[in-house]
């Protein structure tokens, strides 16, 4: 009799717990239910072919998978130094009284909606780059092996992988930065004092701290990569939306899983195979994200902590 009241409390809270568990099924179940027959029948085509023509009943989606990975790779690569810099700046280098403000500004980067970044990229950032930086890049690397393919294209456009990558890099930076900043601020002070006691400079202290929190940096970078992988609106608005075969090129137009879904799902509602193919691509996207999170857990011992913190 004594524990009855508490059992009632646990039952009430349990409803919330069960519904949270249900939430993940609400996401996964409809996606799997509406794609597994397609995946069984045409899954191989979807992940190996690059012929995408729903009208012709061709559903080769490898270029979208590669496009997602390509965009994720480059934006994460560019976001990493930004995130580390912002973390060091906001927790160590900026004037003490302004630290809260700078930290808040970094968080603000994450608060602006994806679709707003997309619109800014579409109207302002992309056109500006296409008329200034991109032609310079193209001519600068035209003779260089390997790099020339990255920047070779028939026609420079404001909407291309590069524009999507650059905007995405900015968008995912705060996620990595928040985790790195948290670890940075938790570094034992006496370790830093030891660096100074040995005659080290500020830079030595920063280097020491960064090497001490390597694992957290990695966790932050992986989480940021996960965000890049699933990022949708900005990418769709900036990537150029070409369904042609994937080329490892930055100034080319392209597509990702998320962009093809946003672009085609409306019309796909009329064509079951088409909508199932797009749903299957979403399932593949979630699988890719899960692999990333799994690797994160394997590689970084601080990962789970960082996940919750992010």
């Amino acid at each position: 009799m004594t524990r009855i009241k508490e059992r009632r409390l646990l039952a009430l809270l349990g409803i919330g717990g069960v519904l949270v568990l249900a939430a993940i099924f609400v996401v996964l179940f409809p996606l799997l239910a509406n794609s597994y027959t397609f995946l069984l029948k045409r899954g191989v085509e979807l992940v190996t072919s690059m012929d995408w023509s729903p009208m012709m009943n061709q559903f080769g989606g490898l270029q979208f998978i590669l496009g997602s990975l390509w965009v994720t790779f480059w934006s994460t690569l560019l976001a990493t130094p930004l995130a580390v810099s912002l973390a060091v700046f906001a927790s160590d280098l900026s004037p003490r009284r302004l630290r809260g403000l700078f930290g808040g500004l970094v968080d603000l980067i994450a608060a602006i909606p994806s679709v707003v970044y997309g619109y800014w990229g579409l109207m302002i950032f992309g056109p500006l780059l296409a008329s200034t930086v991109y032609p310079l890049l193209q001519s600068a690397f035209s003779g260089v092996p390997l790099l020339s393919t990255l920047f070779s294209t028939n026609a420079i456009t404001p909407q291309c992988f590069m524009t999507a990558v650059l905007v995405l890099a900015l968008m995912i930076t705060p996620y990595a930065s928040a985790i790195i900043r948290n670890a940075y601020e938790m570094t034992p002070k006496d370790m830093i004092e030891a660096v100074y006691a040995l005659g080290g400079s500020k830079w030595d202290a920063i280097k020491m701290t960064l090497s001490y929190i390597k694992s957290s940096i990695l966790a932050g970078v992986i989480i940021a990569a996960g965000r890049a992988l699933g990022e949708t609106m900005a990418v769709t608005m900036l990537i150029g939306n070409s369904v042609g075969p994937f080329k490892p090129c930055l100034l080319c137009r392209g597509a990702t899983i998320t962009s093809i879904v946003v672009n085609e799902f409306q019309e796909a509602m009329m064509n079951p195979s088409h909508s199932e193919a797009l749903t299957a691509l979403i399932v593949i996207l979630i699988a890719m994200g899960s692999v990333l999170l799994y690797l994160g857990r394997k590689i970084s011992k601080n990962f789970v902590e960082a996940e919750i913190h992010a």
Binding site: M1, T2, R3, K5, E6
Partner: protein, 252 residues
């Protein structure tokens, strides 16, 4: 010992995460006394207190065995909320509800247990409790102040007031001065001696001098067992056990 025993503990064993902390405790606490439980840290003193008001109920990895009788009733057969109303507790560190006013901190218990019928009665009870805790004079002009803004010593006296507002039979005190400075400690010790008039006080302390200063009876606990128990004057002047002697002389 007096024949009027308010609290009786029989063969009490407590396991935390499978580790036996209390290994069979037998104690009898006489009504209207100050009963001190002393022993080095880690000996299981606090564990014992938390078994009496069943705070361990909330922790799934704690197992309690044995019997605790309050006024002859087995506390583990009682409603825990009724039990905790009859057994007040003051903790090691002051733990008022920091976001509530001084008044509300004291009033919340009586209100939740529906002990008062009118606002006036509640106000009288709060005043009574704060006076018993020697806090009234310092706070009477500003009862709306947040408890979190009081000093550490004041916070602890507020916690005493909060506990006695429920008019408990027994007051458990878990090293109530360990987080306080000397002056605050002295005030609280004087307070405890005063409280004896109305309550039975069971106080845990790791400081034998404190036990000697304020208690009528003392039990010396070591490694989860009662080494020696008896009237304070006897234990401190003629300890029977070598370990007790070492402890009261500060050698353990």
């Amino acid at each position: 010992m007096s024949s009027d025993i308010i609290l009786k503990i029989e063969k009490l064993k407590v396991k935390i995460s499978g580790k036996e902390i209390l290994k069979g405790i037998d104690l009898e606490v006489p009504r209207g006394s100050i009963f001190a439980i002393m022993g080095p840290s880690g000996s299981g003193k606090s564990t014992l207190l938390r078994a009496i008001n069943r705070l361990w109920d909330l922790y799934p990895d704690v197992e309690v065995e044995g019997k605790i009788l309050l006024e002859g009733r087995d506390v583990y057969q009682m409603d825990p909320h009724e039990l905790r109303k009859m057994v007040g507790m003051v903790f090691q560190r002051p733990n008022p509800f920091p976001h509530m006013s001084i008044f509300d901190n004291v009033a919340i218990g009586p209100k939740m247990h529906k002990m008062v019928k009118s606002k006036e009665e509640l106000e009288r009870l709060v005043e009574w409790s704060l006076k018993r805790a020697y806090l009234w004079d310092e706070v009477k002009d500003d009862l709306k102040r947040k408890a979190g803004r009081l000093s550490g010593g004041q916070q602890q006296r507020l916690c005493i007031a909060r506990a006695i507002a429920l008019k408990p039979k027994v007051l458990l005190m878990d090293e109530p001065t360990s987080a306080l400075d000397v002056v605050s400690t002295k005030r609280i010790e004087e307070n405890i001696v005063e409280l004896k008039k109305e309550f039975t006080v069971l106080i845990v302390t790791h400081n034998p001098q404190q036990a000697a200063r304020i208690s009528d009876y003392v039990a010396f606990i070591y490694d989860g067992k009662v080494v020696e128990v008896g009237p304070t004057s006897e234990i401190f002047t003629r300890p029977k056990h070598e370990l007790t002697e070492k402890y009261v002389l500060g050698k353990v």
